[in-house]
Amino acid sequence: MKRAECIGMLYPELDDKIVVTIMGACAQELYDLGHKENFFYLQHAMGLASSIGLGLALHLPQQKIVVLDGDGSVLMNLGTLATLARYRPRNLVHVIFDNGSLLSTGGFDSHTTSGVTDLAAIARGAGVEHVVAVDSVMDFGDAAIEAFARNDLSVIVAKVAAVGPNHYGMDLQLAENAFRFKRWIAGRNATEAP
């Protein structure tokens, strides 16, 4: 399956959720479906998308947070899985697209290629209770529906092909993305305040 298919499947469900993506193909594929103010694209600082998600989730318990991560990024910050498990934000869905490749930087094999390293097992070992590994679009859809409905930390490791978009670029400056994302969250909090 392709990551773009999975993101396409998630896209209609993201309107009311706070979304953080990693850099490169993952960010571009989401952006190409149509940018929304509740999307934050971490175009650098590999590994920290899930940490941003944790900071959001713990401080916004009424919101659902979705992190779209990748194997290369998670491998740069494996400690994040232990920190997520320890604080167990009930409102965080951590999707790890595992293409076994550092695709955006030339397609070098990552440690997960050929199943050498099993990120789902690492997440379980870190103490995350709800971890599922999927390799078909149907299973991904089911896993996402369950994770969105579940009131608990969920990790989905989605095995995807090492293919990405044929172009990169956004009509959105990095700081502009941060300012607008923060403003959207503030606005949502204000309208939901009792």
Partner: protein
Amino acid sequence: MSVSYENSKIVFKGIKDAGITSLSALPETWLGLLLQHAEKDPDVRLIQVAKEEEAIGIAAGAYFAGERHILLMQNHGFLAALNGIVSLAMLYGIPLCMLIALRGHWGEPYPWHTRGGIVTEGVLRALNIPFEYARNPETVGRQIREAYTLSQSSLSPVALLLTRDLMEEAL
């Protein structure tokens, strides 16, 4: 040498007086008593990380969420967090208020701390991160408040270096 019980309390009071409600930290000796206060305080959320760079992401998330958050770390943890500081906080204009235990500097008896201690100020200068040394329990509360204020107005990292004079019991 032991960590100053009184001054740890004063630093924590400074954090509280600055209106901080959320802390991310990696525990280290000089911060130990301080973090015990944070753990016991029902109005402060303490998030312990496995490595300091995670805290840069958590701080960004807390900022997006509108929470008053600061980071506590050792200077070696600051060095370990550099890419996050540069390529998340600075790149996107996200404030960070960092309280950094300055190990390995004036009076340091342990060789293993010294390289990190000696280079910390130079790295802060290279990154253009505004910093001050906190040496005096009478002024540290104001310094924390002002560090937080500057981080928010400048949308950038700011560092307050917690020194031996402040954090260790005077002989």
